[in-house]
């Protein structure tokens, strides 16, 4: 497409409604969509906390102890809880949408949506289990 988008010609008598700033409150799925987009902020938040943790770890046991103490403050606990809920929402909504983007055909027949969703959830459980095993082993 050309660099300049084409718009329908202006016609003085046609009525064009402006999109309201509050369009995403018009129905529940719009609101759900905007919330899902917003989850990216919380995913980024977890990434930043993780980087902060690595930095503290590199600085030695004292810095790491301080980092752990900070994590236990009510403000960070509350933030973590909210972020966790958003990340959970992020994961679940994207897993449920996966079969739309992934069409797998086996012997000419389309693999049913529930199988694709199921495999995603199964992979999630197995990976979470593996991480939990590594962390809780000691």
């Amino acid at each position: 497409m050309s660099a300049e988008p084409h718009y329908t010609l202006y016609h003085p008598r046609w009525y064009r409604r402006r999109v309201s700033v509050w369009w995403w409150l018009q129905n529940r799925s719009y609101t759900g969509f905007v919330l899902r987009e917003l989850t990216s902020v919380f995913v980024a938040f977890f990434a930043v906390v993780y980087l902060w943790q690595l930095r503290a770890l590199a600085q030695g046991p004292e810095a790491y102890g301080q980092f752990l103490a900070r994590l236990k403050t009510p403000l960070l606990l509350a933030l973590d809880t909210v972020a966790f809920l958003f990340v959970l929402f992020h994961a679940i909504t994207w897993f449920n949408l996966a079969p739309k983007a992934m069409v797998v055909r086996l012997r000419g027949k389309r693999v049913p949506d529930w199988v694709i969703v199921g495999l995603n959830y199964a992979a999630w459980l197995v990976l979470s289990g593996a991480v939990a095993f590594v962390l809780l082993r000691g």
Binding site: H6, T8, R17, V19, F33
Partner: protein
Amino acid sequence: MPSTVELTVARYRPEKESEPTFQTYEIPFRKDWVVLDALNHVKDSLDGSLSFRWSCRMGVCGSCGMKVNGTPKLTCATFLSDYLPGPVRVEALDYFPVVRDLVVDLTDFMRKLKQVKPWIIRKEEKPPGEGEYLQTPDQLDVYKQFSMCINCMLCYSACPIYGLEPSFIGPAAIALAQRYNMDSRDQGAAERLKILSEHDGIWQCTFVGECTKVCPKHVDPAAAIQQYKLTGATHWVKSLLLPWGAR
């Protein structure tokens, strides 16, 4: 069962109004009536000045798309009985300029549709004497869903991205491009790639998913777009790794 129901219709008469107003009509309620029947009743018996489009009244032509109680619907397939006790609010589709009352202008879509080349492209046409291009039922099955589109524009009216970014190619046009890309007889995918994978194509879509929900023919344009994102991204990676072999 009520004997009448209120029909609230958006009116826009450019010669005397600067923006749409609502007019309410009391119409007889019949359980076999769809919203389009109610509009035709208004036009025939109550107010001949009401303007709206319709043709086949059986969900095939795609002319009678309007918003019913805020949701884009084919009015020929939307029963009044599902909206009892009323009132039933009918408005023109969102995001298209309103020409009059419930009639919108679709020039923008028509131009975009043409850009995605929704027809079978062959590198070399074989002479008609050599026969048809054959296709198996399995090959048909791959794209059939996307071929059911009737251009009713409900998906555009449900897409907030199209409202906010009018240059977006939009759900139906991309689904129809995919319909031809996935057709085993077509060889034009590379020609469609440019328009589809540029800024106003698939990457404008943030997967709201409402286009699929409102589609009366179960085309699932949201899936068509997400699947093409995968194709577009794969092509991009290939062109990086194998600059000589990807085209």
